[in-house]
């Protein structure tokens, strides 16, 4: 009896010794599996996020208050400089308004002459940022609006300054938006007055890079980067940022929306998400 107990104990000890090794192997296997896109895994993650999001939202409430307090104190301390800056900006914007009126009337006239078919009208909802997924390894947010609020995959997330990213996953009451800075983000863009067509590629840093430039294309510091509208995920002409540096072929972009912890975002449906749905149908997934 004793020897049996002893053997059982020894077996338990051996299992305990090898358990970490087994878990390490499991982890490597999981890493291999998750490198392939798996719809079941995504569904599971969506369900898990649906459960976890209210908890994260509750946990983050005091932090959000703290964040708001810090921002307001900073704003108060900078009131004078901010006022000066706003006066200068206002003067500049008044000039731009006149130019915009002129261009607007010209554009209307040209559209009438060419029988131009305007794009569909967009609709939008505003949502609160609830969670910051992945920290530095994955640049995405969970926001408080989902399919119940009319949000759909492919909607563009914007703030008052510019584009922030797009919706990549939609649950009933939440959705996840991938920022332009995420390592998986690729956006077709046009750069500068010469409208060089290339790709804005996120690399998890705050300044995404321009890649796939055509040979001989000239891009300079200060050139404005706009969405090109190719592929159909983003509409054309949305402001993204300006070229901040050109070093040895590496072109960095400083985004218009550089605050990566906004409290609210606007989710705009430009009526282009059919492209994503069609893609999913082709890949055999549920639309």
């Amino acid at each position: 009896m004793e020897s049996r107990q002893f053997r059982l104990k020894r077996l338990k000890m051996q299992i305990r010794l090898f358990l970490p090794l087994l878990f390490l192997i499991f982890s490597l296997v999981f890493m291999g599996i998750s490198s392939f896109e798996n719809p079941y895994l995504q569904q599971f993650q969506t369900a898990l996020t649906q459960v976890v999001t209210p908890v994260v939202s509750f946990v983050s409430t005091p932090l959000r208050w703290g964040d708001k307090g810090v921002r307001e104190v900073k704003l108060f301390l900078k009131t004078y400089q901010e006022n000066q800056r706003l006066r200068a900006e206002n003067e500049s914007l008044q000039n731009w308004r006149n130019i915009a009126f002129q261009l607007g009337s010209e554009q209307q006239e040209l559209q009438r002459l060419l029988d131009y078919v305007p794009p569909k009208k967009s609709s939008s909802v505003t949502a609160r940022v609830l969670a910051d997924d992945g920290g530095h390894f994955s640049k995405s947010f969970v926001v408080s609006a989902g399919s119940e609020n009319g949000v759909s995959k492919g909607d563009v997330a914007m703030t008052s300054k510019g584009v922030l990213g797009r919706i990549v996953e939609v649950g009933p009451s939440f959705s996840r938006l991938m920022l332009l800075t995420d390592y998986l983000s690729r956006v077709p863009v046009v750069v500068g007055n010469s409208r060089v067509l290339c790709m804005l590629s996120g690399d998890n840093s705050s300044s995404p890079k321009l890649v796939s430039l055509p040979e001989g294309a000239v891009v300079q510091k200060g050139d404005v980067v706009l969405t090109s509208g190719h592929v159909g995920v983003y509409p054309s002409g949305l402001g993204i940022g300006v070229v901040s540096s050109v070093n040895n072929g590496e072109i960095s972009v400083s985004l218009f929306e550089s605050d990566f912890t906004p409290e609210f975002v606007r989710l705009v449906d430009f009526g282009l998400n059919q492209v994503l749905l069609q893609e999913e149908c082709v890949e055999g997934k549920n639309p």
Binding site: R16, L19, P20, F23, L24, F26, S27, L28, V29, F30, M31, G32, I33, S34, S35, L41, F44, Q45, L48, T49, V52, V55, V56, V59, S60, L63, R64, G66, D67, V70, V129, L130, A131, D132, D133, G134, G135, H136, F137, S138, S140, F141, V142, R176, Y183, D203, N204, S205, T261
Partner: protein, 164 residues
């Protein structure tokens, strides 16, 4: 099982629940700017002083949970946590004999390796080269929080130990 026995078992599950909470805390959009891997501190503490309160199963499950809600390739956090727990537990006699400052130094060394390992696994898992600049901020905040974290883990440990 008596009521006090059940209560004791529930108490023993508190370190795991606190670790879960820390994973959720890292998901909050905070002004810390960086999501600090707070979990390293309780793993370090419990692997040395009370490995019975946070075992291999729990550490593996925490890693999987962190990966699933963090949207990083699954298995990265679990690999780092299990390896961290295993290595520390294997050398717990050595660590438990160290003074506080030497233990802090050991944590600084181990956490640096763990953070770099995570970055390395992420780059391999995703096939991308990601800048590791942010690791420095994460590392500094994590190590500055170490004394507070260890103090709280110690208090929790004492509270659980009183009944057991």
């Amino acid at each position: 099982m008596t009521f006090s026995g059940t209560f004791l078992h529930l108490k023993k599950g508190i370190p795991f629940l606190i670790c879960l909470f820390l994973i959720l805390l890292a998901q909050t959009p905070s002004f810390f700017v960086t999501s600090v891997p707070f979990l390293f501190i309780p793993i370090f503490y419990f692997a040395i002083f009370r490995p019975g309160l946070l075992n291999d199963y729990a550490v593996f499950a925490l890693g999987l949970f962190a990966d699933l809600i963090g949207r990083t390739p699954i298995g990265i956090w679990s690999f780092v946590f299990v390896l961290l727990f295993f290595v520390i537990r294997l050398n717990r006699l050595f660590f438990s004999g160290l003074t506080f400052d030497k233990l802090w130094l050991s944590f600084a060394f181990i956490s640096a390796i763990a953070l770099m390992l995570r970055l390395f696994l992420f780059c391999i898992g995703t096939g991308t080269l990601v800048s590791g600049d942010f690791l420095v901020i994460q590392y500094i905040i994590l190590n500055l929080l170490y004394p507070l974290g260890i103090f709280l883990c110690g208090r929790l440990d004492n509270w659980i130990e009183v009944d057991s």
